[in-house]
């Protein structure tokens, strides 16, 4: 438990073992965000102290017995950092220098309580007249006249004019009590704001009387059971000029308006909150046209729900590179690149694809105006105008130096709450370096990433990397926070700059390790394979010429093959012709052979016939051999 200041003994005791000693522990936050928490009854006890019974369906995370009851301020963010609002039935001191927003906070406390939380209030002003107060809050959408009419708010302007007043002898401030009592009674007030009660010290000289009376006033307020806000001007080394923090010791909040590097940031800090845990940081806050908005700096925990759902990058080939389906929904994508590498175009493509699916997108532009982005994207065939018209796409273009980093963060918060996007683009996040130191930007980016992740919003941030630096080191060093990191870089060769796209990392998915050439055409973004060959990685016209060369070689190869085919065919044909010629020759010779044989047979027969005929003519014996007999007789005769 953390106690600030004196009077420790007065703190209400926690039940032993009660959780909640940690600041802003999970249970307390659940308690805050638990929509089922409701005030079941609110009534006055016989002692005049209000009894507020709250009931939470979450049991454990609800209000624990023995802890103090809290009163929702209704101011965005303040109830979160105070863990449920200001201490009910007690006085809270709001201190800060001039122009830090004390009156604003006090007035919002009263007006919101009356309008939204059904708790009438009294605003007692010591500085501004009733008309001034009314016109001051009219711009915030509060109609004080109406609230006064409906008996929800009572205003009382207490003017203390030093020059008119002469002090003689003993007096007290009963008049103030009477007026306050009357105002409280007239509306049945549960809230009281005293702004700035310290003004009394400039109007009245007898400070010992004043101090005694103020002490009595705060006790009286407590006894009344009203939740009070007392504002005080910041003093030199003390919280308030007159040290009234001595009397108001339950809750002290300081407001601050600091200027660093010519940029102003309003900050709020809870100095003490007796009997309650609370955030101890300095929380930046913004006074906008809808009032005060306080922003808790650090994220509450690191337990975002994750989604398995994938969301297309809008470039089908990039989706393919990212495991085939694109980014995971609810992750943070970082797009790093040097100037003119097409970061905004990639972001716009992503947004365009999302809007086509009917998703709501928020585009935070820190470099270009809305119209400029729309026109430029039109040139690459992306028409964002219809999405803007349909209300799906909301641009927020602002100069980074327009206000401090916290304000940018707060504005983002507010826009997200207002527009409910599922995709947020920050283009470029590095430009915010102009609005703060690198460390601050890192912290801011971390908070932004945390916040968006916590809401399941897919965020795409571009960062501009200066030329010559290590591209793989994002300027604000947020690379460790992000899930998917794309790098778009110039590949400079052969007198050309061409764009190459790499995936440096992508958590939780199998992603391509290849470089793609990244081209902006009039029909959007085109990813091409780069030429990888013996001559290295070639892009642009080098790739084109290499492709042409390859093409030519291929054609030649094909022609060669064709020619060879024809040759073989011709040769085959000639061989076949030869074969048929030879066959013809064979058949000719066969015929000739045949003819020859038959001729021979005919000859033989004819010779025999001739011999017979001759024998007959010589009148030889029948059956004589055709051999000429005379030869045989001659031989015989010679024997």
């Amino acid at each position: 438990m953390l106690f600030v200041g004196a009077n420790r003994h007065a703190a209400p005791a926690f039940p032993p073992g009660a959780k909640g000693n940690k600041l802003l522990d999970g249970a307390a936050i659940n308690y805050l965000h638990n929509p089922k928490l409701e005030i079941v009854s609110s009534q006055q006890s016989p002692q005049g102290k209000p009894i507020i019974v709250t009931q939470s369906s979450r049991g454990q995370s609800g209000r624990r017995p023995g802890t103090i009851s809290k009163c929702l301020s209704g101011i965005a963010g303040l109830d979160e950092v105070t863990g449920g609002g200001l201490p009910r039935g007690r006085a809270s001191l709001i201190c800060g220098s001039a122009g830090s927003g004390k009156t604003q906070l006090a007035m919002e406390f009263i007006a919101r309580g009356a309008r939204d939380l059904n708790e009438p209030g009294v605003f007692m002003s010591f500085e501004e007249s009733e008309d001034e107060l009314k016109s001051n809050v009219r711009s915030l959408g509060f109609d004080l006249d109406d609230l006064i009419e409906r008996k929800l708010v009572a205003l009382d302007f207490v003017a203390v004019e030093r020059s008119e007043i002469e002090e003689t002898g003993e007096y007290d401030l009963e008049g103030l009590f009477v007026r306050l009592q009357h105002a409280i009674d007239s509306v049945g007030a549960k809230r009281v704001a005293l702004d700035t009660i310290e003004s009394l010290f400039s109007g009245l000289t007898n400070t010992s009387i004043l101090r005694a009376e103020l002490r009595r006033l705060f006790r009286w307020l407590k006894a009344k059971g009203v939740t009070a806000i007392i504002t005080g001007e910041r003093g030199d080394g003390t919280l308030t000029r007159q040290g009234i923090e001595e009397y108001v010791s339950d809750c002290v909040i300081t407001l601050d308006h600091r200027i660093t590097d010519q940029l102003s940031t309003r900050r709020l800090r809870i100095v003490k909150y007796r009997g309650s845990t609370h955030g101890t940081n300095e929380y930046p806050f913004l006074i906008t046209d809808s009032g005060i908005s306080v922003l808790p700096i650090t994220s509450l925990s690191l337990n975002h729900a994750v989604s398995d759902e994938r969301v297309s990058s809008g470039v089908s080939r990039l989706d393919t590179m990212l495991g085939g389906q694109g980014y995971y929904r609810g992750t943070t994508i970082l797009l790093t690149g040097t100037a003119g590498t097409g970061k905004t175009s990639l972001a716009a493509t992503f947004v365009d694809a999302a809007c086509r699916r009917g998703e709501r997108c928020l585009y935070m532009a820190f470099e270009e105006s809305q119209d400029q982005i729309i026109r430029n994207m039109w040139s690459i065939g992306i028409d964002l105008q219809p999405h803007v018209k349909k209300g799906l796409l909301k641009f927020h273009a602002s100069r980074p130096t327009f206000y401090g980093l916290e304000m940018h963060l707060l504005v983002t918060h507010m826009l997200v709450e207002e527009h409910h996007p599922v995709i947020v683009v920050v283009d470029p996040v590095t430009n915010l370096v102009n609005a703060g130191s690198t460390m601050d930007v890192h912290a801011m980016a971390m908070r932004l990433v945390d916040y968006l992740k916590g809401r399941g919003i897919t965020a795409l941030m571009t960062t501009l990397t200066g030329g010559g630096r290590n591209l793989e080191q994002s300027e604000v060093n947020i690379s460790s926070l992000i899930d998917t990191w794309l790098l778009v870089r110039d590949i400079e060769a052969d007198g050309e700059r061409n764009r190459g796209l790499y995936i440096l990392k992508s958590r939780g998915m199998a992603h391509s390790n290849q470089i793609r050439e990244f081209r902006l055409t009039d029909r959007g973004i085109d990813l091409l394979d780069v030429y990888l060959g013996p001559e290295g990685v070639l892009t642009g016209s080098a790739r084109l010429s290499q492709e042409a060369k390859t093409q030519a070689a291929e054609t030649e190869r094909q022609e060669n093959a064709q020619r060879r085919l024809l040759e073989i065919e011709a040769e085959r044909k000639s061989l076949a012709a030869q074969v048929s010629a030879l066959e013809a020759k064979i058949s000719l010779q066969d015929k000739e052979l045949h003819a020859l044989a038959s001729r021979q047979a005919a000859q033989l027969q004819r010779r025999e016939t001739d011999a017979t005929a001759m024998a007959r003519s010589r009148q030889a014996d029948d059956g004589l051999t055709p051999r000429p007999k005379p030869v045989r007789e001659k031989t015989k005769g010679a024997r």
Partner: protein, 110 residues
Amino acid sequence: MKRAASNSARPSPALDDSPVGWDLRLYVAGRTPKCVTAFNNLQKLCEEHLAGQYRIEVIDLLENPTLAKGDQILAIPTLVRKLPEPIKKIIGDLSNTERVLVGLDLRPRV
């Protein structure tokens, strides 16, 4: 409740007759010792210095709390000089007569 000035012998006629009449209001809250002292002191002082040309109106804020706003009453008791103009306020039990006289412009500031 408006209590008429106690010295009924010389009430309003003096005011009507003289254009520079003194119209005084004393704001009190109940009958506290401080208030009673203030009233007594005031009465004494008026008798001494403004005999016949004053009127005192005592306003009890416990009974008429709305009247506190009109004269911007904060401290009790408060004496308001409505007339002659300009309006002057003197707070306290009026025990320091000198300062009251200065406050009412009956005696020049030192």
